[in-house]
């Protein structure tokens, strides 16, 4: 396998916390490899540890065991080479949209002149369709627009990877679909590698090249990986009309249901 095929490599990743009754093992033996430019969705039941995995890749949580290698270098702590989009946009309410994006841009591109840094931040906001909202504060923006700023803030830094933790979980269905389009547009244009946590089956099928399905915790790991063969660029219509769509959807839901209600023999074991 070439370097590009193993752009992100999670190897035997584990996370456990000390708990009153022994040790709580959240994730154990988590293996995942992501190609450069690939869009991978991590799907699983809530509380299974998918956000923990993302947080470890982001460097916000220290793995208990195993390692993460991104573009040939082991990850140690958070850094601007991984843009993170949180579930809540976490914008700073006292700054305009532009200032929020500039916060990271100023730090990463500190050697560039101010005008150029403003341009980088503004371009990122244009890219997510916020032409008229540069000088608005988060309080004046809708939830969907705020999350657009969150996305702009993440990819304005030209990161190697985009990490998204259920970024559309708090939005209504229509806004969510709109933002999925924005995200896929940005991902495609920037040629960025993306890892996204979600529990929405349709969202995963629309966005991802591959869907990694996680087993239910404790000691969650990747249970199976589903290739999504839909051609790109995708339109929602084409995806829904694709002959394999319902079969893929079935297998995803089947896996999740099995995790929720394990068959008797597996339960006994």
């Amino acid at each position: 396998m070439s370097e590009a095929d193993r752009y992100l490599e999670c190897w035997q990743l584990a996370k456990s916390y000390p708990a009153p009754a022994g040790t709580a093992v959240i994730v154990e033996g988590f293996d995942l490899t992501v190609r450069e430019g690939e869009f991978v969705c991590l799907i699983g039941h809530s509380g299974c540890g998918k956000s923990t995995v993302l947080s470890m890749v982001a460097g916000l949580t220290e793995p208990s065991a195993g390692g993460i290698v991104l573009a040939g270098r082991e990850i140690a702590g958070p850094g601007p080479d991984r843009g993170v989009v949180f579930q809540a946009p976490c914008l700073l309410a006292w700054m305009t949209a532009l200032a929020n994006v500039r916060l990271g841009v100023d730090e990463v591109f500190a050697d560039r002149p101010v005008a150029e840094r403003v341009e980088i931040a503004a371009q990122a906001l244009y890219r997510v369709g916020l032409h008229d909202a540069l000088d608005k504060r988060p309080g004046e923006l809708s939830a969907g627009m705020r999350q657009r700023v969150g996305i702009a803030r993440a990819f304005a830094l030209s990161p190697k990877m985009l990490l998204l933790d259920e970024p559309f979980g708090m939005l209504d269905q229509l806004t969510r679909m709109e933002l999925q389009e924005v995200l896929i547009d940005v991902w495609q244009r920037e040629g960025i590698t993306a890892l996204m946590v979600t529990h929405d089956v349709d969202e995963a099928l629309f966005l991802a090249d591959r869907v990694a399905m996680m087993t239910s915790g404790p000691a969650a790991r990747v249970g199976a990986i589903l290739e999504v063969p839909f051609p790109r660029p995708r339109s929602r219509r084409d995806v829904l009309d694709h002959p394999d769509y319902y079969a893929l959807r079935e297998s995803l839901i089947g896996f999740l249901e099995e995790q929720a209600h394990p068959p008797a023999d597996q339960h006994a074991a």
Partner: protein
């Protein structure tokens, strides 16, 4: 409550009578009168009851220095103080004019000789004393803020500092200004010996005592505000790899600002209260000294003068608090929930 009920029935009766009038306007007029009734009447009623009770009680108490003054006597005393101020001002102006005349004459007769300027030595009036008090409390408050806010930020962001300073905060916070003041006065006498004193020693002691006592609310609230900054916001800072300074100025301080201001507001309140006690003992020529001097001279005017001071102190304290609230509104962001 009563007034509001009466008011609404009255206006309903009006509505019923002329059905042709534009109802929107009437509705508006009605809501305005109702709002006025709700906001203006109760305080007025309270004031009336208070003044009546005061007059009644005052008339029935006889002290060693005469009757307790009623509202009227206190009002007259306040007027007398203002008049006295005006008189002193005219005297000062006249003095300056005479001095200028003499200086001119002196320079005409003995050109080249050094002229010695004389300060007008009239006693400070009540209004001067208010100004002194305001200066003192302001100096103490600024001093306290300069120490408390940075220290609070350190406390809130570094747990080690928090646990190191915690016990001291707990122990020193409840100490009364009356205990600090003698120590401060002795230390100021020993250490504050500049060639050319910009400030009186009594002023410095009072200001430092105010600072020592008003430090704590600002310190505690700042550290609480900093410690309770949204975890997500700190994660953003970590992901963006913000430097310590950027993190403090761009994320921590702005999100802790409402609590920092709450602390500063409490500090200013405490400082103003402490100031009066500090001035009484350190003889700083402010409101505290005024109260003390009035108490010492024990004339028939004493009680009404002190009551004027009480109202002044309360009124200014209230104004200072309002000013801090206004400042907070100005400085902190709109507060729209923008997570």
């Amino acid at each position: 409550m009563m007034d509001v009920a009466l008011e609404s029935t009255a206006s309903e009766a009006v509505v019923a009578a002329p059905p042709a009038a534009p109802s929107a306007l009437r509705e508006r007029a009605r809501s305005v009168t109702r709002a006025v009734a709700r906001t203006v009447l109760p305080p007025l009623l309270g004031l009336a009851v208070f003044l009546a009770a005061w007059s009644l009680v005052a008339a029935s108490i006889e002290t060693s220095i005469g009757a307790v003054p009623g509202p009227r006597a206190v009002w007259d005393a306040a007027g007398a103080l203002v008049e006295e101020h005006a008189r002193e001002r005219t005297k000062a102006v006249e003095f300056e004019a005479r001095q200028a005349e003499r200086k001119e004459a002196f320079l005409r007769e003995q050109p080249g000789e050094p002229w010695i300027e004389r300060q007008y030595a009239g006693k400070p009036t009540y209004l001067d004393q208010i100004v002194t008090s305001l200066k003192t409390v302001f100096a103490g408050f600024v001093l306290a803020s300069l120490v408390a806010v940075p220290l609070g930020i350190l406390c809130g962001s570094i747990p080690l500092v928090q646990s190191a300073l915690g016990p001291f905060i707990q122990i020193f916070r409840p100490v009364s200004p009356l205990a600090w003041l003698p120590i401060v006065m002795i230390l100021v006498s020993a250490l504050y010996t500049p060639e050319e004193a910009w400030f009186e020693k009594s002023f410095v002691s009072s200001a430092i005592t105010v600072a020592l006592c008003s430090l704590w609310p600002a310190l505690i609230n700042t550290s609480l505000g900093v410690a309770s900054v949204d975890r997500d916001h700190l994660n953003v800072a970590r992901v963006l790899r913000l430097g310590w300074w950027t993190k403090v100025t761009k994320i921590i301080v702005p999100s802790a600002l409402p609590l920092i201001f709450t602390g500063l507001r409490l500090s200013l309140g405490v400082g103003w209260m402490v100031l009066i006690a500090a001035e009484m003992l350190s003889q700083n020529p402010g409101l505290g000294k005024f109260v003390w001097d009035m108490f010492q001279n024990g004339s028939s005017q004493t009680l009404s003068m002190i009551l004027v001071a009480v109202f002044t102190i309360g009124f200014i304290g209230c104004l200072l608090d309002r000013a801090m609230v206004a400042l907070e509104r100005l400085v902190t962001y709109g507060g729209a929930g923008a997570r």
